[in-house]
């Protein structure tokens, strides 16, 4: 099954809709609750990052019998140093983003620990594409 969602630039009210949707779908498919939590936490963090640090983007989700693949592709500005960005506590979040409850510098580390496969492709000025796979 394939699902797509749009991520609106700077829209903190709607951020999380895709993750909420996928959570419902996985519940209906009787995926085990522990896997569901890992999946939706990773997707939600990626969704928030696309709103908080980029100019929105698009989400593609594929659900198979034994795994889920989630691709979050945003419209820039790209990540200058991925190793640094993956470091716990590292954050460039603006004051506005912090006021929304984000900027702990834990999103990417959370994504890493909640996924079985993680690939981050980024190009400065173009965008970042995060591909996450979780096996049920």
């Amino acid at each position: 099954m394939h699902y797509t969602f749009d991520i609106e630039e700077g829209n903190f009210t709607n951020a999380g809709q895709a993750s909420g949707n996928i959570k419902k779908t996985l519940k209906q498919l009787n995926v085990n609750p522990a896997s569901i939590k890992r999946i939706v936490v990773a997707l939600y963090e990626a969704e928030i990052n696309a709103v908080a640090h980029a100019y929105g983007g698009k989400i593609d989700v594929d659900i198979d019998s034994d795994k889920i693949t989630m691709v979050v592709a945003d419209r820039g500005p790209g990540i200058p140093n991925i190793d640094l960005a993956m470091t716990e506590g590292y954050s460039t979040a603006s004051k506005e983003v912090r006021e929304m409850g984000f900027g702990a510098g834990m999103g990417l580390p959370n994504i890493k620990s909640n996924t079985d496969q993680l690939d981050i492709q980024t190009q400065l000025g173009v965008g970042t594409t995060i591909t996450m796979t979780v096996f049920f």
Binding site: S19, G20, P33, V40, Y44, E45, M100, G101, A104, N110
Partner: protein, 113 residues
């Protein structure tokens, strides 16, 4: 722990199922949602001063059933709707995060770590 008991201790207002009983008596307090999303132990209650849609979304993703909004924060209609769809109960209290945490800790509510 009964939701009514918690609300009484905090002089708080319940939005949602008054008769709800938490499965485990533990809680986590934070205004930064990624610190909440990091938890691997099941968490019954989130104590926070962050009051927006992402508070509800975070509870939804992290399977947290009770949100205690401290510092006199009031949930708006959209938050209440989103919480109710996901069977999340909100308790609003005028007490600070520190006071809420102190009262609940004293009452036997366990920290996550």
């Amino acid at each position: 722990m009964k939701i009514k008991e918690i609300a009484d201790l905090l002089n708080g207002k319940i939005i949602g199922d008054i008769n709800y009983e938490t499965e485990s008596d533990n809680a986590f307090a934070s205004d930064l949602m990624s610190d909440v999303l990091r938890l691997t132990t099941p968490c019954a209650m989130l104590i926070t001063g962050l009051c927006n849609m992402q508070t509800i979304r975070t509870a939804e993703m992290a399977d947290i059933k009770v949100i205690i909004l401290a510092r006199g924060k009031i949930a708006d209609e959209e938050m209440i709707e989103q919480a109710s769809v996901n069977d999340i109960i909100i308790i609003e209290t005028g007490y600070s995060l520190f006071k809420v945490s102190g009262i609940l800790y004293n009452y036997g509510v366990q920290p996550i770590y």
